[in-house]
């Protein structure tokens, strides 16, 4: 074993990159669930975002416009889920699962002509001054811009839920939709907006894979990241801060286990492979799971 071949600075730096797609998808789903809706279609929205972002950025040559396209694509797919569950009152679990299957198929269809094409490159930001700080600079301040966009979204969601009136309304709708309705809040409208936000974030997460992480379009490329995002929301007790911790923990242990393998660590590979799941679950469960939003997954109709 040769642990000296692992460079801790590079390790921490790649942790932030590895965690970003899951973090983006999870923060969107967190808002959706805080509004009382369980959308299991994260995987489908991610992969749709991945292909939309890829197509848009290839045809415009700009990764930034690609990310916008990905967010729009994810939001459109999510609004399909929203219409079905909020207005046609379909079962949220079944509809969410169907959304995943639909998204996987739709993305494969849309991506037909884009296999083997390379995405326009998305250069890392070398933030002046901050990026030059020894040790911390390369870890924190020399990434592609989406890493910071992701962090900003998490921060914004935290502030929105904690301090803003709109955030309070969203939480009220999620905790008890009948009471919120009685107070005159538009339950369906709030939920639709939350669902579309969730779709947009999932789309960004997917596009991060197809435009930055891989960067290429391949069918089924999210390979289960959406399900991990869903699990992290629950383990994080629906709190943005813990969600960030969970995503970084998962990303970090994933990268660490690959590093340990490459360094010839004497631990059996099977244990290393399960480590990210195990570590994330254990830490977040020990931190004590909070209570789920009161109306989570329940169908709302004003007459009931």
């Amino acid at each position: 074993m040769d642990l000296s071949s692992i460079n801790p600075i590079l390790l921490l730096a790649s942790l932030m990159v590895a965690a970003t797609p899951i973090m983006l998808a999870a923060i969107g789903e967190l808002v959706v669930e805080r509004s009382g809706v369980l959308n299991l279609g994260v995987e489908g929205m991610m992969i749709t975002g991945a292909v939309c972002g890829f197509i848009v950025s290839v045809s415009t040559g700009s990764p930034w416009i690609g990310f916008i396209g990905a967010a729009i694509g994810g939001a459109i797919l999510a609004s399909l889920f929203g219409v079905l569950t909020q207005y046609l009152l379909s079962n949220q679990v079944a509809t969410g699962l169907a959304l995943t299957l639909f998204g996987l198929g739709l993305s494969a269809l849309m991506g037909q002509g884009y296999i083997g094409i390379k995405a326009p490159s998305f250069p890392d930001w070398h933030i002046p001054l901050l990026g030059d700080i020894p040790v911390i600079g390369p870890i924190v301040f020399q990434h592609d811009p989406m890493v910071y966009v992701g962090l900003l979204i998490v921060l914004a969601v935290w502030a929105f839920l904690k301090f803003s009136r709109a955030g309070l309304i969203l939480r009220a709708v999620g905790e008890n939709h009948d009471a919120a309705h009685a107070l005159g809040y538009k339950v369906k409208r709030v939920r639709m907006l939350a669902i579309m936000f969730g779709g947009a974030c999932a789309g960004l997460g997917g596009a991060y894979l197809s435009l930055v992480r891989v960067p290429q379009w391949t069918e089924g490329m999210t390979a289960g990241a959406g399900w991990i995002a869903l699990a992290i929301v629950v383990f994080a007790s629906w709190k943005p801060g813990r969600l960030l911790l969970g995503a970084y923990l998962f990303g970090g242990v994933t990268v660490l286990q690959l590093n340990l393998q490459a360094a010839g660590m004497a631990i059996p590979v099977e244990y290393l492979s399960m480590a990210p799941y195990l570590a994330t679950t254990v830490v977040l469960v020990i931190m004590r799971a909070g209570r789920a939003p009161g109306s989570l997954g329940r169908i709302f109709h004003a007459s009931r």
């Binding site: 071949s5 692992i6 460079n7 590079l10 390790l11 790649s14 590895a18 797609p21 995987e43 699962l97 995943t100 299957l101 996987l104 198929g105 494969a108 991506g111 037909q112 296999i115 083997g116 094409i117 390379k118 894979l209 992480r213 891989v214 960067p215 290429q216 391949t218 069918e219 089924g220 490329m221 999210t222 390979a223 289960g224 990241a225 399900w227 994933t254 990268v255 690959l258 590093n259 393998q261 490459a262 360094a263 010839g264 004497a266 059996p268 590979v269 099977e270 492979s273």
Partner: protein
């Protein structure tokens, strides 16, 4: 839950496409472990299917189901294909082995062909390619290309096929560069672009300047390209879009001749259960163009090696070779046997010099 639903969906797809079967045509089914657009393993099997369609025209109808999980779900997909009147079914992943045997037991009149496995039955043939011959060529090039003397290897699952590949590449790399070191990462997946990209990045960060992959996506190629000075090899498919650098050569699986021959055998009624294991010589394993990024003398010696493997002059596993623990595997001049104790088919050990353990 998602898996079974997914299969339910693919299952329904199989039903609808199969409904148009006609009796006079021979029907050939394929089940794939990944999507046909993976650009690697499944892509090449699908190319084989398309070649069958083109060769036989209207005489043969093909159906396929993609992204079938390895395990019991595969059994249901194959059962449905057989019920829908398939005459010949190709199951194209190692993990479909037991499901294939089970389904074949229920449909004695349907012929089955299982790729890369070792369980045969009266109506189940097995076929595989000697990918290790291609791996030997890769090792020969990689050992000379590397300047850091660290070669990264993204392995998938610890099955004999993958371990053979590691050993074959290592032996040839060592032969041309005694200082070479292999860093091996087990990804435990055939196809997960994000994970493959991460594995490649980790290997590059730890000093590897040549990456060999036994996973199916092109993500490691893209990671190497981003790093700039890292050479790679295409896996299963040519992956030529990443040439001339980082992708300097590739192993191409060419299933078309085999699929056409076996379909012909079913049409003629001459099909028998066989075990086929073909390499470079019959063309089942192709070596993609060695690009000009490889220095001319290395390219020439690699091409000479391909020729001598083709002619049978050279066997990639020729003694003296010791196992990792130092015990003798092959004596001077001895070549590895295919089957039996310590045969290639069941290889589960590293050769001497490789660091680390084979996951058990």
């Amino acid at each position: 839950m998602m898996k079974s639903l997914l299969t339910g969906a693919t299952f329904a797809l199989g039903l609808t496409t199969a409904a148009f079967a006609q009796d006079e045509t021979t029907k050939v089914g394929f089940i794939y472990v990944g999507p046909v657009g993976d650009g690697g393993w499944t892509y090449e099997h699908n190319q084989g299917r398309l070649a069958v369609e083109e060769h036989f025209g209207d005489a043969v109808e093909t159906v396929f189901v993609e992204s079938v999980p390895e395990g019991p779900d595969a059994e249901r997909v194959m059962t449905q294909m057989a019920l829908d009147g398939a005459d010949l079914i190709f199951s194209t992943s190692f993990g479909f082995m037991d499901p294939t045997i089970n389904v074949a037991g229920k449909f004695p009149d349907v012929k089955f062909e299982h790729a890369t496995g070792y369980k045969q039955a009266d109506n189940v043939s097995v076929y595989s390619a000697r990918f290790y011959e291609g791996r030997a060529v890769q090792g020969h090039i990689a050992g000379q290309m590397t300047e850091s003397n660290v070669i990264g290897y993204i392995a998938s699952f610890p099955i004999p096929e993958v371990i053979r590949g590691i050993n074959a590449a290592y032996l040839q790399a060592k032969a041309v560069n005694p200082d070479v070191e292999f860093k091996i990462v087990w990804a435990y997946t055939w196809f997960d672009p994000a994970k493959e990209a991460e594995a490649a990045t980790v290997l590059i960060e730890q000093g590897a300047d040549v990456i060999l992959q036994h996973t199916d996506s092109t993500a490691p190629q893209a990671a190497a390209q981003a790093a700039g000075n890292v050479a790679t090899f295409g896996q299963a498919s040519d992956m030529a879009e990443f040439g001339p650098y980082p992708r300097v050569s590739s192993i191409i699986d060419n299933w078309s001749p085999y699929y056409i021959a076996r379909t012909q055998a079913v049409i003629d009624g001459t099909w028998e259960s066989t075990s086929t294991w073909d390499g470079i010589a019959p063309g089942m394993v192709g070596i993609g163009e060695i690009t000009d990024s490889v220095p001319a003398e290395i390219k020439a010696s690699a091409e000479a090696m391909i020729e001598s493997i083709r002619s049978g002059e050279m066997h990639p596993f020729t003694g003296p070779i010791n196992k990792q623990d130092g015990s003798v595997w092959l004596a001077e001049g001895e070549t590895a046997s295919d089957y039996g104790d310590d045969g290639l088919a069941g290889m589960n050990f590293y050769v001497e010099g490789i660091v680390g353990d084979v996951p058990q």
